[in-house]
Point group: D2
Chain length 334, copies 4
């Protein structure tokens, strides 16, 4: 019997690493998990006067909810997380420039002699009924509605090898992937590295652009429902996504072309193993039919995706034995 588990962290129960933490709850494959996630600033940035570098304190940024121990999950398995719904828990969100962070400034990693760009906060209205967020310029009267498109910037599991990684970064174990493709209706696959998988999530975005160019999306708290499942004995090297229509692989590294390479090698292999299409035939098909949305080009590791429509693949491409369809059905029944 699948169970509905609800979890809302107390103030001091958020996690700032993947790995290195004890589980907050146990779930079983098939269970439905309802969680609350705080925004990347811990809810401390609420107005234009709350400069992140002043109100937040490292390492207490990008809090995650979890980790959850998945019964039976073992290294070599694949964890499937289906996002049944992602709903803003507030009617506002914030973005900001942050000193020496973002794609268009000297940063910690791309170090320069420039002083930091101005730190500034933008507050967005979130109108869930209308399905929009409202951008407001700070130096002029420009206002405009952008589509509400809720997603989680951060989702991942314990990295294994006794590692614990900051929730500010990402790697093969997931983490701060910051791709707008992780929205409701999507199943995310991760290779399990430790017993129980120990997954966590957070960093809700009411929406974000591709690449997250200034480094901060429309950050907000979320109420999110995830259906959990496990594919035993099947390994997954890099994070993968499945929607009703598409398969996606996520490459995570620097420089950005290497993230592109990882995603496309992984997708070539996925197509091959899923459909029997020979390697170069798969490479060719991906070359003409694939798209490659950027995730983030700002975090310590960048993300870039390989995306292909299932309808272009031979046969009925049933990834991981059709788990996405089953989880979709569970989600529909909620």
């Amino acid at each position: 019997m699948s169970e509905l588990i609800t979890y809302r962290p107390g103030t001091d129960e958020y996690g700032y690493t993947l790995g290195g933490r004890s589980p907050v709850a146990t779930v079983r494959p098939g269970d439905v998990l309802q969680v609350y996630t705080e925004d990347c600033f811990g809810g401390l940035v609420r107005t234009g006067k709350d400069l992140p570098s002043q109100v937040c304190e490292l390492p207490f940024v990008n809090p995650t909810t979890g980790p959850f121990f998945v019964e039976g999950a073992r290294p070599g398995d694949t964890l499937a997380l289906h996002f049944a719904s992602i709903t803003p828990a507030r009617d506002w969100g914030v973005s900001a420039t942050f000193p020496h962070f973002g794609a268009l400034t000297g940063t910690h990693n791309t170090a320069t002699l420039h002083p930091a760009l101005e730190e500034r906060v933008w507050v967005y209205e979130i109108d869930a009924d209308k399905g929009v967020v409202r951008y407001r310029a700070t130096q002029s009267g420009h206002e405009v509605e952008l589509p509400l498109d809720p997603m989680h910037g951060t989702v991942g599991l314990a990295p294994g090898g006794y590692e614990a990684r900051s929730t500010l970064t990402c790697d093969a174990h997931g983490g701060n992937l910051d791709t707008p493709e992780i929205r409701a209706g999507v199943t995310v696959y991760f290779g399990v590295n430790v017993e129980g998988a120990l997954f966590a999530l957070g960093d809700g975005h009411a929406r974000q652009g591709e690449g997250e160019v200034c480094g901060v999306a429309v950050e907000t708290a979320m109420n999110t429902t995830v259906v959990v499942d496990l594919i035993p004995g099947v390994a997954t090297a890099w994070p993968r996504l499945e929607t009703d229509e598409h398969l996606l692989s996520i490459g995570v590294t620097r420089p950005l072309e290497d993230a592109y390479r990882i995603a496309h090698v992984d997708m070539t292999e996925w197509i091959g193993s899923l459909t029997g299409l020979e390697q170069l035939d798969a490479y060719q098909l991906l070359s003409q039919a694939g798209t490659s949305p950027a995730g983030n080009v700002v975090d310590p590791n960048y993300t870039m995706l390989a995306k292909i429509a299932k309808r272009y693949l031979p046969g009925r491409a049933e990834a991981y034995e059709g788990v996405h369809a089953r989880l979709r059905a569970t989600a529909a029944s909620l």
Copy 2:
């Protein structure tokens, strides 16, 4: 009075550089140009037995049609080229793996000790009536139709500074940009570097994926109609595109994050100069509303774009004094 100029190159009239060549014809701002372009292999790869490395000879690959001298064009002006139509001139196209070329292999620039991957050719049917190209696997029976989406991989003008650059590469002067965004309905803007601008185009693709991962799209000859215009006294630093709905900036360099940076700095500046939106307000808006399609991740220089919907910008964003709308009207009247 605008004129209709038709030009089909003779066998020995193709160009293999931008810059360093005399014009094949003169056009005036407002003129309509109908040209034939050969495919990137000079039409020499027609069957699976025509391996590109055997039938083609460097530097005679990626032939371009042109250059065309634009009357009155001077350094510091901007050239506008509106693609009224791009129509495959054949009912077939080809793709291939090419030794040490592509994103998922050791290459000239990303050198490794690996022997080359197998060189192989894929022949595609192009069904213009149905609006599809047909992929056929070489090692199995898989066939699938992909949408026909004709585009030019190569368009650009003389680079200035007495340079002549191979049509295999790209830079601020355009060239082998290899982005699927250069399709019919689009206006392309380039900064003029030499008197007469000296633009050329070629490398038609029946379609390509984002990043052009194997390095070769569905290559075919094209019949293409371009409306030419000039914005005097307005400089343009990097190639830009305009559609009815979107503005796009193209970043061109390596590594790929630097191409992303160029495109997004240019778009931030473009939004600012076009709408008066203050710099960080523009940066913020782009961060949430922008997408960033990859062009190529395979050529000597990569391309990555910044793309934003005009409807999100303040006022009526009339780029370059509304030239796109005027050229669109001309195209509609043809």
Copy 3:
């Protein structure tokens, strides 16, 4: 009174992360520490038949000795480790190609479709008396002596932020830096991130080339003597080195130009804070007088250094209040 502390790990006492481990011993500033470190393969690769991918098991590679708790060390302090001596503990070392690892092959991060290069082991004689290691070709009779130049590939401390990082990688907290500059006579500086600093070391190399191009140096066990000191209240952002003649900053990230940037920004700042030389004057002097030895171009993060001779700097450049000279004196007295 400074103390001499000797520590040789038992078989199951090696560490595979920095952070996430309890200290094996406590030392006080001024203490002298004599340790044994195992080679990166845990001593399991001894002949040409011991292929690393067969005899080693992840994550049990690159074992470190430690961590050591430094009494009084607090976040915001700087830890100084002076390498008094690094002596091979064996008369042999090994190197190898490892599948999909190294600079000239497709790798985990620079993913390609190529099968791995051949895995192969090279066994070196280490002749400490003569001060050489002996290379022997595997496919021909070529033998040659290279200078013995013992160093530690891995040294670092707990990363802070509750992180635990694999000893296979490196970052601002140090780790698998793999630079030949960390040899006897050198003082290494790290910013302390957690109480007690919790430093560890390992991965001895009888020598390595710059960039460690195949990914594996001449790996051997070491007997190493380190003098420990603490500079309270002085923060250090990136790993730094000091010799009698030079100052060095280590940049750690990808791509390699970003590692170069980090090192040179840090060195510009170091020169400025140490000597009062104005920022652009320091930048200029470094531009003409600096060298930039590559560390590794193979690990998950690359390292590249900025190096300048102290004699080019104004005044008597006494880094960290002259601690290097004091530790040097302690080392000389042993």
Copy 4:
């Protein structure tokens, strides 16, 4: 009979591209060429008040002397240029920061939203007798002598494929390589791309640091003597250097790790073809015995070198049939 040819360009005879120019003189293999080269600013920056961005005009920067037509040189041959002497033609040199140029600032390629760093000029005394250049801080009294180590930043030949490339950049044909390794006593090898080779040189540096971090070395005019030779029928893919003691390969591209890869693949192949050492044995030897000096990390393409001492190679490594030794002898006889 070898001939001594002297050439000093008139004011309007300098070249700003490699390729696309007619030869200024013809030389034969074995000839000795004495030339004058102007500094990268065309001699226009002489005091702290001569800001480069004000006194120089693009594209008239980095003037080269040449090109020279080498009798008998054909595509597929290798050109050897031995630098017999490089002597500053002035008793002063200059360096500068230049807006949006250099490794530690946002640039044309690594675009950011930062305003440019301050533009400033440093004037150096060159004391040839004492063998030093004298650095003087602009904002304090610090003065220091650095070793005079004259070199050419720019040397190369026509790129072929009908290309003409700015002397500000570099690629497989050479150009603005900006490595301190090109000093007197060195033989440089380039693959010939066009009949006559058409080589040119310029951009003398009284010295530079590795990476040329601010983007500008100690720039000065030079009187330089080059001995020219040709190795017919032997192709060379990337620029190579030979000294009495070392072989060096130059990788040229972005990102910097790709320049490193190119250099080390080329050196692995060079060792193999020169000595018969099997590929992985050569890779291994280079891994332990090689160094990798950075050239520039600032130009449109970066340079990084692979360097190995000849004494570590099997046999008597006579590159290109011993041409270096012969040219060395010629130089000694001058």
